[in-house]
């Protein structure tokens, strides 16, 4: 629980390494990831009055996740540069599993990637993730399922599974 200004800042500070880890896995590029963390921190510190107790870490993940969504939207509206050839693809066969998992994560849509990372990398509960993403737990579950099937398909070099069969 956070019950003082100093405590609030200390708690935010303590969360920075984890936020960086999540952001790095979410967007891969280290500079962009740190930009996201920085904006998350600025926003959190300015919105301190909006924080009504509860889990500060979840709140920070929520801000970061939303900022990333805005960022992707902004990027989609702007003129974009699109790769014709992907050098990474040529090297895929020779790279180790670590590189492959990064690429497999890249192949996910953003909300599935976020759900999976929040659970397996950040160790958050399904309930926390549902709150962070603003969806019911069932939706978190189906995002996880799709993410895992897609990663598997990617690693197996198969076409992505189109639908989750209940």
């Amino acid at each position: 629980m956070v019950n003082s200004v100093a405590g609030f800042r200390q708690s935010v500070e303590a969360a920075i390494p984890a936020l960086r880890r999540y952001a790095r896995a979410l967007v891969r590029n280290a500079d962009v990831a740190d930009d996201l963390v920085q904006d998350t921190l600025v926003r959190a510190l300015r919105s301190e009055h909006l924080f009504h107790g509860g889990d500060l870490r979840s709140w920070l993940y929520t801000i970061l996740t939303n900022l990333n969504r805005n960022r992707l939207r902004t990027l989609a509206r702007r003129p974009t540069l699109v790769p014709i050839e992907d050098h990474d693809a040529a090297a895929a066969g020779t790279e180790s599993g670590q590189r492959d998992i990064a690429r497999a994560l890249d192949s996910l849509v953003e909300e599935q990637r976020a759900a999976l990372l929040l659970v397996v990398l950040e160790g958050l509960s399904y309930r926390d993730v549902a709150e962070i993403q603003g969806v019911p737990i069932g939706t978190v579950m189906s995002r996880l399922a799709r993410a895992r099937a897609q990663i598997r398909a990617h690693l197996d070099g198969q076409r992505p599974a189109l639908r989750r069969i209940k």
Binding site: N29, L36, R43, R78, A102
Partner: protein, 259 residues
């Protein structure tokens, strides 16, 4: 058999992997997996995925926090609005780094700045290629001359400040005045230890502000953008990592000058 009271669902398999399976279902799920090798294999694969993700990114959480993310620094920072364009630009630069040096294409004509801006970028890249090849007279006025910056600022009609790229091993040689598509333009030239040259071009333009765009021609490449009615073009060798670092630095310095 245990499974007769409730068949195990896929959600429960995920819950097992993620440590969210209620205690009273552990036994049933374990029995199910023993009887269903396909599901057991899926669960093993998901666990391996999670391990791979933690192996790949877990260490980031133990890295020292960079200065710009130190809480004291962040608390002194102004409103975050300005950063978005920088973040977007950084993402674009990152995309450039991830891809090939030649295989890039600018798209999204609807949101693209007007033609004048494209002409300006083209002029800058042409000037870059022309003047970097000059051994003896790459520039008109040397960096040491005190009138260099006031002179170019006056002619261009904008307060210019050649970015400091010394941290990147690039020394400002000097600058020159050029005719641009919409008025006079300033070209600052930088040189690195191995003789590689970069130029920063600036000229007033009526084009709206824009995100970073990219152009490559022969072995030279340029990033360009518009900020505060000034078009900037940073050109250099098409070495993606190097140009990216330079562009990041110039971009940040012009952004800061803005506020």
């Amino acid at each position: 058999m245990i499974e007769k009271d409730a068949a195990v669902t896929e959600d429960e398999l995920h819950a097992l992997v993620d440590g969210e399976l209620p205690a009273d279902r552990q036994e049933a799920v374990a029995a199910w997996l023993a009887a269903h090798p396909d599901d057991a294999e899926r669960v093993a694969h998901w666990r391996a995925q999670a391990e791979a993700i933690r192996a790949r990114y877990g260490a980031v959480g133990s890295e020292p926090v960079p200065d710009r993310l130190k809480i004291e620094r962040v608390m002194r920072q102004r409103a975050p609005g300005w950063r978005w364009s920088a973040a977007a630009a950084a993402a674009v630069v990152a995309a450039f780094v991830a891809g090939g040096t030649v295989g890039w294409l600018a798209r999204g004509a609807a949101a693209a700045p007007g033609n004048g801006f494209e002409m300006l970028a083209q002029d800058a890249l042409t000037a870059h290629k022309l003047y970097i090849a000059e051994m003896r007279h790459p520039i008109e006025v040397k960096a040491g001359e005190t009138h260099l910056v006031p002179w170019l600022s006056r002619r261009v009609g904008a307060e210019l400040k050649p970015p400091d790229l010394s941290a990147l091993g690039l020394r400002l040689l000097g600058g020159r005045l050029l005719p641009g598509p919409s008025g006079p333009a300033a070209l600052f030239m930088y040189e690195g230890a191995s003789g590689e040259r970069f130029t920063v071009y600036a000229s007033r333009t009526a084009s709206p502000e824009s995100a970073l765009r990219f152009k490559v021609e022969d072995r030279a490449a340029a990033f360009y953008w518009v900020l505060n009615q000034v078009g900037y073009v940073v050109s250099g060798p098409a070495d993606r990592n190097r140009l990216r670092t330079v562009v990041n630095s110039v971009y940040e310095q012009t952004e800061q000058a803005k506020g």
